[in-house]
């Protein structure tokens, strides 16, 4: 093993400045997270408690193993929309009876836990993660159904919620519904499609149509309990497998169900772990504020990977992309990290070769983004940059080992694709508060628009409106800047969360462990195809 020697000068003024900037961004992030935690606010929280009910996060805390870690996913879902940050649902990976599970808990303090377009997208994402990584799913249900004013955005795609549940089951991934309150109309299919259902006496209410609807439809007089009470479902309909006395009892039963899944992870077990030799606290000062200056990703790796040990692949070739082998919390990873932002032909070919090697040895890949994209210009086009970039994107697209992407700096243009952006289905994608992602940098984008407009104006023989151009450029720059920030992108579910750089190792360790719940296999190098192409 080769130990990284970090050259980061933690006593420098730059470091202190970058650190301050990062801490300011983290404080803003904390404020946004707090909105999600606050849910429906004090009034609804108090009312919920007065009814003797637990909050979504209180339920999760009781469900997961004591002192175990919990990774909340998409906590900023709905950020920048008309809906409450967090999208009235909490999703995340937690450990229940020693089993890593996907936990999905409606937040009933936000509009009765009703689902808005961001809610369903967040749950879809959770289902995808559960399916890909083979995580048993625990649904903590208490939802008033669809948010009716936005039903057009929910109704048709929303059917996937139930489809996903039964497809998980079909894939051998157990689904468990703990019904804490309303789960009516379409929502009734959450317990309906789950493998194990727990309902709570005098609390759970599960029916297709309530008394008024039944009265309208058939004239029958009925009440909530006979149509959908927990006791009825436990004794008559058989929709409930277990009848819990109260909320803690439902969580207790949920834990017992998981304990009896006899779950075994399929991926290889982690190797013994040694911590990095450098303090992860220093990650705060690695990334230059504004991303104008490139930084060495080895300074990040030295504070993230086991023992700060990293065996670099092709260190002298395509040096703008660092590739190499390391471990995180005992799990082997192949790392691709941008060093100087730009991807040239050499970097692209190096990446394609490295990704093939990782597939040959079933090694998961970690992408650390700080790229401004593939190089442009006559020499590069003539040198085949499209062809070489395509090789990299081809390799990323068809790689079968699990990928984890982490946006630590810029992630612009096709570079975002080549480094396994969201569209390339990494198992997990997180961003640091310093990250930015867009088709290109805000200034470049505004400049391109300006050049195109000026050319059009000149072609028409008109004088170019320089003042208008300046205003347009400023407006475009501001808009693109805002839309490339991690909170904005996280709000649109383009990542799985924005994380504190100091938590990087923990988040990666948790994700890699979750990933290893499933088997870890690369694209086939089994004698039926080609060998690794040297490039």
């Amino acid at each position: 093993m080769t130990a990284l020697r970090s050259t980061l000068d933690t006593a420098s003024a730059e470091f202190a400045g970058y650190r301050d900037a990062m801490l300011a961004k983290l404080a803003e992030l904390e404020t946004e997270h707090a909105k999600a935690v606050e849910g429906g606010g004090e009034k609804y929280t108090t009312r919920h408690h007065q009814r003797g009910k637990l909050l979504a996060r209180e339920r999760i805390e009781l469900l997961v193993d004591e002192d175990s870690p919990f990774l909340e996913l998409s906590p900023l879902a709905g950020w920048g929309s008309d809906f409450t940050v967090g999208a009235s649902v909490v999703t995340g990976i937690g450990v229940v009876e020693g089993v890593e599970c996907m936990i999905i808990a409606n937040d009933p303090t936000v509009r009765g836990g009703s689902s808005n377009p961001w809610t369903v997208r967040k749950i879809f994402r959770a289902s995808d993660i559960a399916l890909e990584n083979r995580l048993p799913v625990l649904n903590l249900v208490e939802s008033g159904g669809a948010d009716l004013p936005t039903q057009k955005e929910i109704f048709i795609p929303g059917g996937r919620l139930f489809r996903d549940l039964t497809r998980l089951s079909a894939a051998g991934i157990p689904t468990i519904a703990l019904v804490f309150g309303n789960s009516t109309a379409g929502g009734a299919y959450v317990p309906g499609m789950s493998d194990h259902v727990v309902m709570i006496e005098e609390r759970s209410k599960v029916f297709l149509g309530g008394p008024p609807l039944v009265k309208m439809a058939t004239g029958e007089e009925s009440d909530d309990e006979s149509l959908g009470g927990a006791a009825m479902h436990a004794r008559s309909s058989g929709l409930a497998d277990y009848l819990a006395r109260d909320e803690p009892d439902a969580l207790r039963i949920g834990r017992r169900i998981v304990a009896r899944l006899n779950w075994a992870k399929r991926g290889p077990a982690p190797a013994p772990v040694s911590p990095p030799r450098y303090d992860e606290e220093e990650l705060l000062g690695v990334v230059p504020d504004g991303l104008k200056v490139p930084f060495d990703p080895r300074d990040v790796l030295a504070r993230v990977v086991d023992g700060s040990e990293f065996d670099e692949f092709k260190p002298l070739y395509g040096t703008s992309l660092v590739t190499g082998w390391a471990r995180v919390h005992g799990y082997p990873v192949g790392v691709l990290a941008n060093a100087r932002g730009i991807l040239f032909s050499e970097e692209s070919q190096k990446a394609a070769q490295f990704i093939q090697l990782a597939n040959q040895t079933n090694t998961p890949l970690l992408f650390l983004h700080n790229t401004t994209g593939y190089m442009v210009g006559k020499d590069y086009e003539q040198g085949g940059i499209i062809k070489h970039g395509a090789m990299m994107i081809n390799a990323v697209s068809n790689s079968k080992v699990p990928h984890v992407s982490l946006l630590i700096g810029a992630s612009y243009g096709a570079g975002h694709y080549g480094m396994c952006g969201r569209a390339y289905d990494p198992r997990f994608l997180f961003a640091w508060p310093s990250a930015k992602s867009a088709v290109m940098g805000p200034q470049q984008l505004a400049g391109v628009l300006s050049i195109v407009a000026r050319a059009a104006s000149e072609a028409r023989g008109q004088a170019y409106d320089e003042d208008g151009d300046a205003a347009m450029r400023a407006a475009v720059e501001a808009q693109v800047e805002a839309e490339s920030l991690p909170t904005f992108l996280s709000g649109r579910l383009y990542d799985d969360g924005v994380i504190d750089p100091r938590d990087t190792r923990t988040v990666l360790g948790l994700c890699l462990s979750a990933i290893h719940t499933n088997s870890v296999e690369g694209a086939r190098f089994d004698g039926t195809g080609f060998g690794v192409f040297r490039m």
């Binding site: 805390e61 004591e66 919990f70 207790r252 948790l510």
Partner: protein, 652 residues
């Protein structure tokens, strides 16, 4: 020469005798009841023979079985220890008739001293001061208070103090019944009761050649229910002149009955130095180690040697220093000394320089009948161990003993440890003001108070929570290497709840990159947390908390005092809960009588049934007016603590 000794006893005294035998090259034979099958004394002996059954009457009191066992095991001598058959002259005779050596006095001497009435007459004739004996039928108002005693008694059993004539008949009946069951002899008598007397006794050794040694006095005034709790030598009351009179009286007493072997002459003394003969114990005493410490004598070795006919020197050895013994009992002093039973997970006394032997230097001697994991049952005396401190003088011996006890790790059973420490540190004790009313005078409220105060309990609960958290991480099947309780979106603290003496303590904490944040512990910093070791710093002061975990128990020991915490589970299974109005067995025992039937209406306080545990009948009464809706036990049924005995429905 004796080659192989059967010890007709159990627990620490059996181990003590085995030790002297082994040192002398003598083989050892143990007997054991079914309940004692796993006891240390069984494992320590060269051979062990089962006495079927659990109760003393079925086992250790069965002289016939013991003699048979001795013969079967090839023993050539029997040592009775103390209690059980040790003062039974018939047994001594049976041993001798079986051709075995009886390690004790002649049956005649035993018989003479065994009858309290007879012995007092003998002593009076020999010039030993005695309190006049009263016929229970003739006790009058002016004699009060009086003590009713079993003539064949010992160890406080069959004793009753009577302060009003009205209570005399009942006391005589009770003492008589107890005496009959404990000693097989219902005879009782009365004597004047000295409320504030001091219990002073003299250890004697007498050989078969006429030499009698008085080797030292012991004071055993601090007693509970007439059982000794703290014993020491020399007595702070006794000066040289009084000692001379005591020794002379003790020697006369022994000579009057041609006593041989080790024995103890007990006196009741007044504060001004008068003393009266109480009785002579014709055996080894529980508290013999204090005398061993100050004289250097191995009393058991001398018992063996005297039984072999050895001669004592004309003069006994000079004593030096001061020794104090405490009896560590599994009992709850604050709850009327209720005996405790169950598993003793750990017992560790620090600074022990000697076990079962005379210490070669000043320090702590431990004579323990239990080991880690010992199960303390309901059939025998709940004494766990004797802890003895030997020092140059009284104050330092007391301080060392209190310190050792306070730092001892005793997990799993409630004990009288805190009381012992409080007594040893009490100004009155240190001033030598010890008499039989000590515990009453200073009050159990103060003396039984826990060593750990409120702050200590809170900090210990925090330490327990942090140690438990570390243990949870250490045994996590997955993600064990990640930070404890890590959250990327902070919301709620981790929570752990414990009960300490029935009071709930909830600990709410977060462990983040800034260290510990625990609600209500703003001034506490976490230095280190491992599953069994937590270091906390409070306002600059670091303290180590040692944490041990057992089913249903987290034991935290620290310089602030021991704290036993019962973890409150996060969840309770509704099926495991007991119905409202359930009356649970407070201790293991046997249901002796049931006074009600199912469906019967009862008034608050009305007895429903009686539970016998540790020779005492505990009344289980209705907590309120109501109806007995369930009665799941029957008479003579054995019950464990927590067993539902009855359910009283107090609704309409």
């Amino acid at each position: 020469m004796i080659e192989n000794v059967l010890v007709a006893n159990r627990g620490e005294i059996a181990l003590r005798i085995f030790r002297s035998c082994r040192d002398a090259g003598i083989g050892t034979v143990a007997v054991y009841s079914d309940a004692d099958e796993a006891s240390p004394h069984v494992a320590a002996a060269d051979a062990a023979i089962r006495l079927p059954g659990d109760t003393p009457a079925q086992t250790y009191l069965r002289g016939d079985l013991v003699v048979r066992a001795a013969l079967a095991a090839g023993a050539d001598a029997v040592h009775p220890g103390y209690g059980f058959l040790s003062e039974n002259a018939d047994f001594a005779r049976a041993v001798a008739e079986a051709g075995l050596v009886w390690i004790g006095p002649e049956p005649g001497a035993m018989r003479a001293m065994g009858s309290k009435v007879e012995s007092k007459r003998l002593m009076a004739d020999a010039g030993v001061p005695v309190l006049p004996e009263l016929d229970p039928a003739e006790v009058s108002e002016s004699d009060l208070p009086v003590l009713v005693k079993a003539s064949a008694g010992g160890g406080g059993r069959g004793m009753r103090v009577v302060r009003e004539l009205a209570g005399l008949d009942e006391a005589v009946r009770g003492a008589s019944a107890e005496a009959a069951s404990a000693f097989g002899d219902a005879t009782v008598f009365c004597e004047r009761y000295l409320d504030t007397g001091r219990h002073i006794e003299v250890q004697v050794l007498a050989d078969t050649h006429g030499t009698v040694w008085a080797v030292g006095e012991r004071e055993c005034s601090i007693q509970r229910r007439h059982q000794k709790v703290v014993e020491e030598t020399p007595s702070p009351l006794v000066d040289a002149a009084m000692r001379e009179r005591l020794f002379a009286a003790a020697t006369s007493a022994a000579k009057a009955v041609d006593y041989t072997g080790a024995g103890t002459v007990e006196f009741l003394a007044t504060g001004d130095g008068d003393f009266y003969f109480l009785e002579m114990n014709t055996r080894l005493q529980v508290e013999h180690p204090v005398t061993e410490c100050t004289t250097g004598l191995d009393l058991v070795a001398w018992q063996l040697r005297i039984a072999e006919g050895a001669r004592l020197d004309p003069e006994p050895p000079q004593w030096t220093g001061h020794a104090i013994e405490v009896r560590l009992y599994a009992e709850d002093p604050a709850e009327d000394w209720q005996p405790q039973s169950g598993t003793l997970h750990t017992v560790e006394v620090p600074g022990v320089v000697a076990e079962f032997v005379v210490p070669g230097s000043y320090g702590i001697r431990l004579d323990s009948g239990v080991v880690d994991g010992s199960v303390v049952g309901v059939h025998y005396d709940p004494m766990l161990a004797k802890v003895i401190s030997y020092g140059p003088e009284r104050a330092s011996a007391a301080r060392a003993l209190a310190g050792a006890l306070a730092r001892a790790r005793i997990h799993g059973l409630r004990t009288n440890r805190d009381l012992l420490v409080n007594v040893l540190r009490h100004p009155a004790f240190l001033a030598g003001e010890t008499d039989t009313a000590f515990l009453d005078r200073h009050g159990l409220a103060a003396l039984a108070a826990p060593l750990a105060d409120g702050d200590a309990v809170r900090l210990s609960a925090l330490a327990a929570a942090l140690a438990d958290a570390a243990a949870n991480r250490a045994r996590a099947a997955v993600l064990g290497g990640l930070p404890s309780g890590w959250r990327n979106v902070g919301s709620l603290p981790q929570r752990k709840t414990y009960t300490v003496a029935g009071v709930e303590h909830e600990v709410r904490y977060r462990l983040g990159r800034d260290g510990l944040r625990a609600e209500g512990f703003d001034d506490v910093t976490l230095v280190e947390a491992r599953p069994e070791h937590v270091v906390l710093e409070t306002r600059g002061v670091r303290r180590v908390f040692t944490v041990a975990r057992y089913p249903g128990l987290v034991a935290v020991d620290s310089p602030l005092g021991p704290v036993s915490l019962v973890p409150v589970p996060r969840f309770t299974d509704p099926d495991a809960e007991v119905a409202a109005g359930s009356l649970l067995a407070p201790m293991p025992g046997t249901v002796v009588r049931i006074a009600v039937e199912q469906g019967q209406a009862v008034r608050a306080g009305e007895p429903l049934l009686w539970l016998e545990a540790m020779k005492m009948e505990h009344r289980i009464a209705a907590p309120a007016d109501g109806v007995v809706t369930e009665l799941p036990v029957v008479a003579s049924q054995q019950v464990e603590p927590g067993t539902v005995l009855a359910v009283v429905n107090t609704e309409e």
